[in-house]
Symmetry: C2
Subunit: 238 residues, 2 copies
DNA sequence: AAGTGGTCTAGACCACAAC
DNA sequence: TTGTGGTCTAGACCACTTT
Protein backbone atom coordinates (compact mmCIF):
# COMPACT_ATOMS: atom_id res chain seq x y z
CA UNK A 1 0.00 0.00 0.00
CA UNK A 2 1.06 3.55 -0.62
CA UNK A 3 0.85 6.69 1.52
CA UNK A 4 -1.55 8.90 -0.40
CA UNK A 5 -1.23 11.79 2.03
CA UNK A 6 2.26 12.53 0.72
CA UNK A 7 2.66 15.70 -1.30
CA UNK A 8 4.59 13.95 -4.06
CA UNK A 9 2.44 12.82 -6.96
CA UNK A 10 1.13 9.31 -6.66
CA UNK A 11 2.63 8.15 -9.93
CA UNK A 12 6.09 9.08 -8.68
CA UNK A 13 5.51 6.92 -5.61
CA UNK A 14 4.38 4.09 -7.87
CA UNK A 15 7.51 4.59 -9.95
CA UNK A 16 9.72 4.44 -6.88
CA UNK A 17 7.88 1.33 -5.72
CA UNK A 18 8.64 -0.43 -9.00
CA UNK A 19 12.27 0.72 -8.99
CA UNK A 20 12.61 -0.75 -5.50
CA UNK A 21 11.14 -4.02 -6.75
CA UNK A 22 13.83 -4.14 -9.40
CA UNK A 23 16.69 -3.04 -7.15
CA UNK A 24 15.73 -5.61 -4.52
CA UNK A 25 16.75 -8.30 -6.96
CA UNK A 26 13.35 -9.92 -6.83
CA UNK A 27 12.81 -8.94 -10.46
CA UNK A 28 15.99 -9.50 -12.46
CA UNK A 29 16.40 -8.38 -16.09
CA UNK A 30 13.89 -9.97 -18.48
CA UNK A 31 11.61 -11.11 -15.65
CA UNK A 32 7.96 -10.19 -15.79
CA UNK A 33 6.80 -7.44 -13.46
CA UNK A 34 3.36 -7.46 -11.80
CA UNK A 35 0.58 -6.68 -14.29
CA UNK A 36 -1.10 -3.30 -14.32
CA UNK A 37 -4.14 -4.82 -12.64
CA UNK A 38 -2.01 -6.36 -9.87
CA UNK A 39 -0.27 -3.06 -9.24
CA UNK A 40 -3.64 -1.29 -9.03
CA UNK A 41 -4.88 -3.76 -6.45
CA UNK A 42 -1.65 -3.98 -4.47
CA UNK A 43 -1.11 -0.25 -4.24
CA UNK A 44 -4.76 0.80 -4.23
CA UNK A 45 -4.44 3.29 -7.08
CA UNK A 46 -6.17 3.81 -10.42
CA UNK A 47 -4.99 2.40 -13.68
CA UNK A 48 -4.06 5.77 -15.20
CA UNK A 49 -1.69 6.33 -12.29
CA UNK A 50 -0.05 2.96 -12.78
CA UNK A 51 0.22 3.58 -16.52
CA UNK A 52 1.79 7.02 -16.08
CA UNK A 53 4.47 5.48 -13.88
CA UNK A 54 5.10 2.56 -16.25
CA UNK A 55 5.15 4.79 -19.27
CA UNK A 56 7.85 7.00 -17.75
CA UNK A 57 9.92 3.99 -16.76
CA UNK A 58 9.61 2.70 -20.30
CA UNK A 59 10.76 6.02 -21.77
CA UNK A 60 13.72 5.97 -19.43
CA UNK A 61 14.71 2.51 -20.59
CA UNK A 62 14.10 0.74 -17.27
CA UNK A 63 11.28 -1.52 -18.42
CA UNK A 64 9.90 -2.90 -21.66
CA UNK A 65 6.19 -3.38 -22.34
CA UNK A 66 4.91 -6.09 -24.67
CA UNK A 67 1.36 -5.75 -25.88
CA UNK A 68 -0.73 -8.74 -24.96
CA UNK A 69 2.08 -10.29 -22.93
CA UNK A 70 3.22 -8.20 -20.01
CA UNK A 71 5.76 -5.77 -18.62
CA UNK A 72 9.38 -6.81 -18.24
CA UNK A 73 12.55 -5.51 -16.63
CA UNK A 74 14.82 -4.19 -19.37
CA UNK A 75 18.14 -5.81 -19.95
CA UNK A 76 20.95 -3.33 -19.55
CA UNK A 77 24.45 -4.09 -20.62
CA UNK A 78 27.34 -2.51 -18.76
CA UNK A 79 27.41 0.22 -21.33
CA UNK A 80 23.71 0.86 -21.55
CA UNK A 81 24.04 4.46 -20.47
CA UNK A 82 25.95 5.25 -23.62
CA UNK A 83 22.96 4.43 -25.77
CA UNK A 84 21.71 8.02 -26.03
CA UNK A 85 25.14 9.05 -27.28
CA UNK A 86 25.56 6.44 -29.95
CA UNK A 87 22.19 5.08 -31.04
CA UNK A 88 20.63 6.87 -33.96
CA UNK A 89 17.43 4.89 -33.42
CA UNK A 90 17.29 6.20 -29.87
CA UNK A 91 17.72 9.78 -30.99
CA UNK A 92 15.24 9.59 -33.84
CA UNK A 93 12.66 8.04 -31.56
CA UNK A 94 13.06 10.77 -28.98
CA UNK A 95 12.40 13.44 -31.57
CA UNK A 96 9.27 11.67 -32.75
CA UNK A 97 10.49 9.67 -35.72
CA UNK A 98 9.88 5.95 -35.64
CA UNK A 99 12.00 4.31 -38.31
CA UNK A 100 12.50 0.78 -39.55
CA UNK A 101 15.67 -0.65 -40.96
CA UNK A 102 16.22 -2.69 -44.06
CA UNK A 103 19.50 -4.42 -44.71
CA UNK A 104 20.54 -3.86 -48.32
CA UNK A 105 24.06 -5.24 -48.13
CA UNK A 106 25.93 -7.72 -45.96
CA UNK A 107 29.44 -8.72 -46.98
CA UNK A 108 33.08 -9.08 -46.01
CA UNK A 109 35.55 -6.45 -47.14
CA UNK A 110 39.30 -6.07 -46.96
CA UNK A 111 40.64 -2.76 -45.68
CA UNK A 112 42.76 -1.13 -48.34
CA UNK A 113 42.28 2.62 -48.46
CA UNK A 114 39.88 5.46 -47.70
CA UNK A 115 38.52 6.24 -44.28
CA UNK A 116 38.68 2.62 -43.11
CA UNK A 117 42.43 2.57 -43.59
CA UNK A 118 42.84 5.62 -41.37
CA UNK A 119 42.54 3.51 -38.23
CA UNK A 120 42.57 -0.10 -39.42
CA UNK A 121 45.64 -1.70 -40.91
CA UNK A 122 45.60 -2.45 -44.60
CA UNK A 123 44.65 -6.05 -45.34
CA UNK A 124 42.41 -6.48 -42.29
CA UNK A 125 39.15 -8.28 -43.03
CA UNK A 126 36.03 -6.69 -41.60
CA UNK A 127 32.29 -7.23 -42.00
CA UNK A 128 30.21 -4.57 -43.69
CA UNK A 129 26.47 -4.12 -43.24
CA UNK A 130 24.66 -1.48 -45.26
CA UNK A 131 21.22 -0.45 -44.07
CA UNK A 132 18.58 2.05 -45.06
CA UNK A 133 16.37 3.66 -42.44
CA UNK A 134 12.81 4.12 -43.51
CA UNK A 135 9.96 6.12 -42.05
CA UNK A 136 6.58 6.19 -43.76
CA UNK A 137 7.90 4.77 -47.02
CA UNK A 138 10.67 7.37 -47.25
CA UNK A 139 14.32 6.58 -46.84
CA UNK A 140 15.60 8.94 -44.19
CA UNK A 141 19.14 7.70 -43.60
CA UNK A 142 21.92 5.63 -45.09
CA UNK A 143 24.05 3.63 -42.72
CA UNK A 144 27.31 1.78 -43.26
CA UNK A 145 28.38 -0.36 -40.37
CA UNK A 146 31.75 -2.08 -40.15
CA UNK A 147 32.89 -4.51 -37.44
CA UNK A 148 35.92 -6.67 -36.88
CA UNK A 149 35.59 -10.44 -36.96
CA UNK A 150 35.84 -10.51 -33.17
CA UNK A 151 32.91 -8.17 -32.63
CA UNK A 152 30.92 -9.72 -35.47
CA UNK A 153 30.99 -13.10 -33.76
CA UNK A 154 29.39 -11.48 -30.70
CA UNK A 155 26.50 -10.23 -32.80
CA UNK A 156 25.66 -13.74 -34.00
CA UNK A 157 21.93 -14.23 -34.26
CA UNK A 158 21.13 -10.56 -33.73
CA UNK A 159 18.28 -9.13 -35.77
CA UNK A 160 20.00 -6.70 -38.09
CA UNK A 161 16.79 -4.80 -38.72
CA UNK A 162 16.81 -3.77 -35.06
CA UNK A 163 19.05 -1.15 -33.50
CA UNK A 164 22.57 -2.54 -33.78
CA UNK A 165 23.80 -0.07 -31.19
CA UNK A 166 21.30 -1.43 -28.69
CA UNK A 167 22.25 -5.04 -29.38
CA UNK A 168 25.88 -4.14 -29.12
CA UNK A 169 25.49 -2.36 -25.79
CA UNK A 170 23.25 -4.94 -24.16
CA UNK A 171 24.83 -8.15 -25.44
CA UNK A 172 28.54 -7.48 -25.61
CA UNK A 173 30.34 -7.98 -22.33
CA UNK A 174 33.45 -6.00 -23.26
CA UNK A 175 34.10 -2.63 -21.67
CA UNK A 176 33.93 0.48 -23.73
CA UNK A 177 37.18 2.40 -23.59
CA UNK A 178 36.56 5.26 -25.97
CA UNK A 179 34.57 6.44 -28.90
CA UNK A 180 35.17 9.24 -31.29
CA UNK A 181 32.28 10.89 -33.07
CA UNK A 182 32.59 13.41 -35.81
CA UNK A 183 29.56 15.21 -37.17
CA UNK A 184 29.81 17.24 -40.34
CA UNK A 185 27.21 19.23 -42.26
CA UNK A 186 27.92 19.03 -45.97
CA UNK A 187 26.46 18.99 -49.49
CA UNK A 188 25.03 15.61 -50.53
CA UNK A 189 26.51 13.61 -53.38
CA UNK A 190 24.52 12.30 -56.36
CA UNK A 191 23.68 8.96 -54.81
CA UNK A 192 22.46 10.58 -51.60
CA UNK A 193 20.25 13.01 -53.53
CA UNK A 194 18.57 10.08 -55.27
CA UNK A 195 18.27 7.76 -52.31
CA UNK A 196 17.10 10.37 -49.82
CA UNK A 197 14.90 12.30 -52.28
CA UNK A 198 16.64 15.55 -51.44
CA UNK A 199 15.51 18.91 -52.69
CA UNK A 200 18.09 21.11 -54.32
CA UNK A 201 19.12 23.26 -51.39
CA UNK A 202 19.09 20.47 -48.81
CA UNK A 203 22.22 19.59 -46.89
CA UNK A 204 23.02 16.34 -45.17
CA UNK A 205 24.56 15.53 -41.83
CA UNK A 206 27.25 12.89 -41.83
CA UNK A 207 28.04 11.14 -38.58
CA UNK A 208 31.08 8.92 -38.28
CA UNK A 209 32.07 6.92 -35.24
CA UNK A 210 35.02 4.78 -34.18
CA UNK A 211 34.53 2.60 -31.16
CA UNK A 212 37.21 1.11 -28.90
CA UNK A 213 37.00 -1.53 -26.18
CA UNK A 214 39.35 -2.15 -23.26
CA UNK A 215 40.08 -5.63 -24.55
CA UNK A 216 41.65 -4.49 -27.83
CA UNK A 217 44.08 -1.90 -29.06
CA UNK A 218 42.43 -1.59 -32.44
CA UNK A 219 39.00 -0.03 -32.91
CA UNK A 220 36.33 -2.70 -33.26
CA UNK A 221 33.62 -0.77 -34.99
CA UNK A 222 33.24 2.02 -37.52
CA UNK A 223 29.90 3.54 -38.46
CA UNK A 224 28.93 6.10 -41.05
CA UNK A 225 25.45 7.67 -41.12
CA UNK A 226 24.09 10.14 -43.61
CA UNK A 227 20.81 11.86 -42.82
CA UNK A 228 19.14 14.97 -44.29
CA UNK A 229 19.56 18.04 -42.10
CA UNK A 230 15.86 18.87 -42.53
CA UNK A 231 14.82 15.70 -40.79
CA UNK A 232 16.78 16.50 -37.66
CA UNK A 233 15.25 19.95 -37.57
CA UNK A 234 11.66 19.10 -38.47
CA UNK A 235 11.03 15.38 -38.00
CA UNK A 236 7.32 15.86 -38.59
CA UNK A 237 8.01 16.88 -42.18
CA UNK A 238 8.93 13.22 -42.91
CA UNK B 1 -13.79 17.78 -35.87
CA UNK B 2 -11.96 14.50 -36.26
CA UNK B 3 -12.87 11.26 -38.04
CA UNK B 4 -13.19 8.79 -35.20
CA UNK B 5 -13.89 5.86 -37.53
CA UNK B 6 -10.25 5.83 -38.62
CA UNK B 7 -8.18 2.92 -37.43
CA UNK B 8 -5.31 5.14 -36.28
CA UNK B 9 -5.45 6.04 -32.60
CA UNK B 10 -7.29 9.24 -31.85
CA UNK B 11 -4.37 10.83 -30.04
CA UNK B 12 -2.25 10.44 -33.18
CA UNK B 13 -4.92 12.29 -35.15
CA UNK B 14 -4.94 15.00 -32.50
CA UNK B 15 -1.17 15.18 -32.73
CA UNK B 16 -1.32 15.54 -36.51
CA UNK B 17 -3.99 18.21 -36.14
CA UNK B 18 -1.75 20.26 -33.85
CA UNK B 19 1.28 19.78 -36.10
CA UNK B 20 -0.80 21.09 -39.00
CA UNK B 21 -1.78 24.12 -36.94
CA UNK B 22 1.90 24.85 -36.40
CA UNK B 23 2.98 24.15 -39.97
CA UNK B 24 0.21 26.35 -41.34
CA UNK B 25 1.97 29.32 -39.84
CA UNK B 26 -1.04 30.30 -37.81
CA UNK B 27 0.88 29.46 -34.64
CA UNK B 28 4.48 30.69 -34.93
CA UNK B 29 7.17 29.85 -32.34
CA UNK B 30 6.36 31.09 -28.82
CA UNK B 31 2.69 31.67 -29.65
CA UNK B 32 0.07 30.13 -27.42
CA UNK B 33 -1.76 27.09 -28.77
CA UNK B 34 -5.45 26.40 -28.03
CA UNK B 35 -5.98 25.31 -24.44
CA UNK B 36 -6.69 21.67 -23.61
CA UNK B 37 -10.35 22.54 -23.05
CA UNK B 38 -10.60 24.27 -26.44
CA UNK B 39 -9.02 21.29 -28.19
CA UNK B 40 -11.48 18.94 -26.45
CA UNK B 41 -14.43 21.02 -27.64
CA UNK B 42 -13.13 21.69 -31.14
CA UNK B 43 -12.19 18.09 -31.85
CA UNK B 44 -14.87 16.42 -29.77
CA UNK B 45 -12.48 14.19 -27.81
CA UNK B 46 -11.77 13.57 -24.15
CA UNK B 47 -9.13 15.35 -22.15
CA UNK B 48 -6.89 12.31 -21.70
CA UNK B 49 -6.67 12.00 -25.48
CA UNK B 50 -5.69 15.63 -25.85
CA UNK B 51 -3.15 15.28 -23.05
CA UNK B 52 -1.57 12.15 -24.55
CA UNK B 53 -1.06 14.01 -27.83
CA UNK B 54 0.32 17.12 -26.12
CA UNK B 55 2.58 15.12 -23.86
CA UNK B 56 4.17 13.33 -26.82
CA UNK B 57 4.66 16.59 -28.67
CA UNK B 58 6.31 18.01 -25.57
CA UNK B 59 8.67 15.04 -25.30
CA UNK B 60 9.59 15.46 -28.92
CA UNK B 61 10.43 19.10 -28.39
CA UNK B 62 7.67 20.54 -30.56
CA UNK B 63 5.75 22.35 -27.82
CA UNK B 64 6.35 23.65 -24.32
CA UNK B 65 3.76 23.52 -21.54
CA UNK B 66 3.67 26.08 -18.74
CA UNK B 67 1.67 25.19 -15.68
CA UNK B 68 -1.04 27.74 -14.99
CA UNK B 69 -0.33 29.61 -18.20
CA UNK B 70 -0.79 27.59 -21.35
CA UNK B 71 0.80 25.57 -24.12
CA UNK B 72 3.23 27.20 -26.53
CA UNK B 73 4.97 26.40 -29.78
CA UNK B 74 8.62 25.65 -29.03
CA UNK B 75 11.30 27.83 -30.47
CA UNK B 76 13.66 25.84 -32.66
CA UNK B 77 16.90 27.23 -33.93
CA UNK B 78 18.30 26.04 -37.22
CA UNK B 79 20.39 23.50 -35.39
CA UNK B 80 17.73 22.27 -33.02
CA UNK B 81 17.95 18.70 -34.29
CA UNK B 82 21.50 18.44 -33.01
CA UNK B 83 20.37 18.86 -29.44
CA UNK B 84 20.16 15.13 -28.67
CA UNK B 85 23.75 14.76 -29.83
CA UNK B 86 25.27 17.55 -27.82
CA UNK B 87 23.08 18.39 -24.84
CA UNK B 88 23.94 16.56 -21.68
CA UNK B 89 20.79 17.95 -20.05
CA UNK B 90 18.75 16.44 -22.84
CA UNK B 91 20.34 13.04 -22.42
CA UNK B 92 20.13 12.98 -18.64
CA UNK B 93 16.48 13.96 -18.77
CA UNK B 94 15.67 11.19 -21.21
CA UNK B 95 17.17 8.59 -18.92
CA UNK B 96 15.16 9.87 -15.99
CA UNK B 97 17.59 12.21 -14.26
CA UNK B 98 16.46 15.77 -13.74
CA UNK B 99 19.46 17.90 -12.84
CA UNK B 100 20.03 21.52 -11.99
CA UNK B 101 23.13 23.53 -12.72
CA UNK B 102 25.12 25.80 -10.49
CA UNK B 103 27.77 28.09 -11.89
CA UNK B 104 30.87 27.92 -9.71
CA UNK B 105 33.26 29.84 -11.93
CA UNK B 106 32.98 32.45 -14.64
CA UNK B 107 36.16 34.06 -15.92
CA UNK B 108 38.34 34.96 -18.87
CA UNK B 109 41.38 32.83 -19.66
CA UNK B 110 44.24 33.06 -22.11
CA UNK B 111 45.04 29.95 -24.12
CA UNK B 112 48.59 28.81 -23.41
CA UNK B 113 48.88 25.05 -23.25
CA UNK B 114 47.03 21.83 -22.54
CA UNK B 115 44.01 20.63 -24.44
CA UNK B 116 42.83 24.16 -25.24
CA UNK B 117 46.01 24.85 -27.17
CA UNK B 118 45.47 21.80 -29.34
CA UNK B 119 42.98 23.64 -31.51
CA UNK B 120 43.14 27.26 -30.38
CA UNK B 121 46.18 29.43 -30.99
CA UNK B 122 48.27 30.37 -28.03
CA UNK B 123 47.40 33.80 -26.66
CA UNK B 124 43.73 33.70 -27.66
CA UNK B 125 41.37 34.98 -24.99
CA UNK B 126 38.32 32.83 -24.30
CA UNK B 127 35.59 32.78 -21.67
CA UNK B 128 35.43 29.93 -19.22
CA UNK B 129 32.34 28.85 -17.33
CA UNK B 130 32.59 26.07 -14.77
CA UNK B 131 29.37 24.42 -13.67
CA UNK B 132 28.33 21.58 -11.40
CA UNK B 133 25.28 19.49 -12.23
CA UNK B 134 23.24 18.51 -9.23
CA UNK B 135 20.48 15.99 -8.75
CA UNK B 136 18.91 15.46 -5.35
CA UNK B 137 21.68 17.27 -3.51
CA UNK B 138 24.41 15.18 -5.15
CA UNK B 139 26.86 16.53 -7.65
CA UNK B 140 26.63 14.27 -10.66
CA UNK B 141 28.81 16.01 -13.22
CA UNK B 142 31.53 18.60 -13.62
CA UNK B 143 31.40 20.78 -16.70
CA UNK B 144 33.98 23.16 -18.15
CA UNK B 145 32.68 25.28 -20.96
CA UNK B 146 34.89 27.52 -23.09
CA UNK B 147 33.72 29.94 -25.79
CA UNK B 148 35.36 32.53 -27.97
CA UNK B 149 34.53 36.21 -27.48
CA UNK B 150 32.39 36.09 -30.64
CA UNK B 151 30.19 33.28 -29.40
CA UNK B 152 30.13 34.64 -25.86
CA UNK B 153 28.58 37.88 -27.07
CA UNK B 154 25.74 35.85 -28.59
CA UNK B 155 24.99 34.28 -25.24
CA UNK B 156 24.50 37.66 -23.57
CA UNK B 157 21.68 37.55 -21.09
CA UNK B 158 21.34 33.78 -21.20
CA UNK B 159 20.62 32.02 -17.94
CA UNK B 160 23.78 30.03 -17.30
CA UNK B 161 21.98 27.68 -14.94
CA UNK B 162 19.93 26.48 -17.90
CA UNK B 163 21.14 24.17 -20.63
CA UNK B 164 23.81 26.12 -22.50
CA UNK B 165 23.57 23.73 -25.44
CA UNK B 166 19.88 24.53 -25.79
CA UNK B 167 20.47 28.28 -25.63
CA UNK B 168 23.26 27.97 -28.12
CA UNK B 169 21.22 25.95 -30.59
CA UNK B 170 18.05 28.01 -30.37
CA UNK B 171 19.52 31.51 -30.15
CA UNK B 172 22.62 31.48 -32.31
CA UNK B 173 21.94 32.09 -35.98
CA UNK B 174 25.23 30.71 -37.23
CA UNK B 175 25.34 27.41 -39.09
CA UNK B 176 26.98 24.42 -37.52
CA UNK B 177 29.72 23.06 -39.73
CA UNK B 178 31.18 20.29 -37.65
CA UNK B 179 31.60 18.95 -34.18
CA UNK B 180 33.98 16.41 -32.82
CA UNK B 181 33.08 14.44 -29.74
CA UNK B 182 35.39 12.16 -27.89
CA UNK B 183 34.18 9.98 -25.07
CA UNK B 184 36.63 8.18 -22.83
CA UNK B 185 36.12 5.92 -19.84
CA UNK B 186 38.89 6.45 -17.32
CA UNK B 187 39.93 6.45 -13.67
CA UNK B 188 38.88 9.59 -11.78
CA UNK B 189 41.45 11.97 -10.33
CA UNK B 190 41.52 13.12 -6.70
CA UNK B 191 39.37 16.18 -7.23
CA UNK B 192 36.73 14.19 -9.10
CA UNK B 193 36.59 11.55 -6.37
CA UNK B 194 35.89 14.26 -3.80
CA UNK B 195 33.45 16.34 -5.82
CA UNK B 196 31.47 13.42 -7.20
CA UNK B 197 31.59 11.29 -4.02
CA UNK B 198 32.93 8.33 -5.94
CA UNK B 199 33.37 4.89 -4.46
CA UNK B 200 36.73 3.26 -4.88
CA UNK B 201 36.12 1.16 -7.94
CA UNK B 202 34.06 3.74 -9.79
CA UNK B 203 35.16 5.01 -13.16
CA UNK B 204 34.20 8.24 -14.83
CA UNK B 205 33.21 9.10 -18.36
CA UNK B 206 34.87 12.14 -19.86
CA UNK B 207 33.19 13.81 -22.81
CA UNK B 208 35.01 16.46 -24.78
CA UNK B 209 33.62 18.44 -27.69
CA UNK B 210 34.90 20.96 -30.19
CA UNK B 211 32.32 22.85 -32.15
CA UNK B 212 32.78 24.64 -35.50
CA UNK B 213 30.52 27.05 -37.36
CA UNK B 214 30.45 27.87 -41.07
CA UNK B 215 31.23 31.49 -40.30
CA UNK B 216 34.64 30.81 -38.73
CA UNK B 217 37.68 28.72 -39.39
CA UNK B 218 38.54 28.34 -35.72
CA UNK B 219 36.43 26.28 -33.35
CA UNK B 220 34.12 28.49 -31.29
CA UNK B 221 33.41 26.23 -28.37
CA UNK B 222 35.11 23.57 -26.30
CA UNK B 223 33.33 21.58 -23.62
CA UNK B 224 34.57 19.05 -21.11
CA UNK B 225 32.18 16.95 -19.02
CA UNK B 226 33.04 14.43 -16.36
CA UNK B 227 30.32 12.16 -15.07
CA UNK B 228 30.42 8.91 -13.08
CA UNK B 229 29.90 5.82 -15.24
CA UNK B 230 27.44 4.42 -12.67
CA UNK B 231 25.04 7.27 -13.23
CA UNK B 232 24.79 6.63 -16.94
CA UNK B 233 24.10 2.97 -16.29
CA UNK B 234 21.75 3.27 -13.33
CA UNK B 235 20.34 6.79 -13.12
CA UNK B 236 17.88 5.75 -10.41
CA UNK B 237 20.77 5.06 -8.04
CA UNK B 238 21.33 8.86 -7.83
C1' DA C 1 -11.47 35.16 -8.91
C1' DA C 2 -10.71 33.05 -13.24
C1' DG C 3 -8.25 30.25 -16.28
C1' DT C 4 -4.61 27.15 -17.17
C1' DG C 5 -2.25 22.72 -16.90
C1' DG C 6 -1.37 18.58 -13.24
C1' DT C 7 -3.08 14.57 -10.98
C1' DC C 8 -6.37 10.95 -10.18
C1' DT C 9 -10.45 7.74 -10.36
C1' DA C 10 -13.86 4.46 -12.33
C1' DG C 11 -15.24 2.26 -16.00
C1' DA C 12 -15.51 0.78 -20.83
C1' DC C 13 -14.05 -1.42 -25.00
C1' DC C 14 -10.23 -2.77 -28.29
C1' DA C 15 -5.93 -5.27 -30.01
C1' DC C 16 -2.59 -8.54 -29.39
C1' DA C 17 -0.36 -12.98 -27.87
C1' DA C 18 -0.57 -17.34 -25.84
C1' DC C 19 -2.87 -21.45 -24.44
C1' DT D 1 -10.82 -18.35 -24.52
C1' DT D 2 -8.12 -15.81 -21.34
C1' DG D 3 -5.11 -12.35 -19.85
C1' DT D 4 -2.25 -8.73 -21.11
C1' DG D 5 -1.38 -3.94 -22.43
C1' DG D 6 -3.61 0.09 -25.64
C1' DT D 7 -7.05 3.59 -26.21
C1' DC D 8 -10.75 6.50 -24.66
C1' DT D 9 -14.44 8.92 -21.92
C1' DA D 10 -16.50 11.65 -18.10
C1' DG D 11 -15.80 13.76 -14.21
C1' DA D 12 -13.43 15.44 -10.09
C1' DC D 13 -10.21 18.09 -7.53
C1' DC D 14 -5.51 20.33 -7.03
C1' DA D 15 -1.59 23.70 -8.08
C1' DC D 16 0.06 27.43 -10.43
C1' DT D 17 -0.14 32.06 -12.76
C1' DT D 18 -2.32 36.16 -13.98
C1' DT D 19 -5.88 39.65 -13.43
Amino acid sequence: MIDKSSSTPLYILVKDYIIKLILSGEYPPNSQLPTEYELMKTLGVGRATVRTALSQLENEGTIVKKHGVGTFVAERGKAFGFEPFISLSFTLEKIGLKSTNSVVGHNKVTVSDGILASRWESGLEVFHIKRLRQAEAYTIAIEDFYVTKELYSKLEGADMSESIAHTLLSKVDWSIKEFDNKIIVREPNEEEIKTLFLRDESKVVELTRWMYFEEFEEPQNFVNFVIPLDILEFPFLR
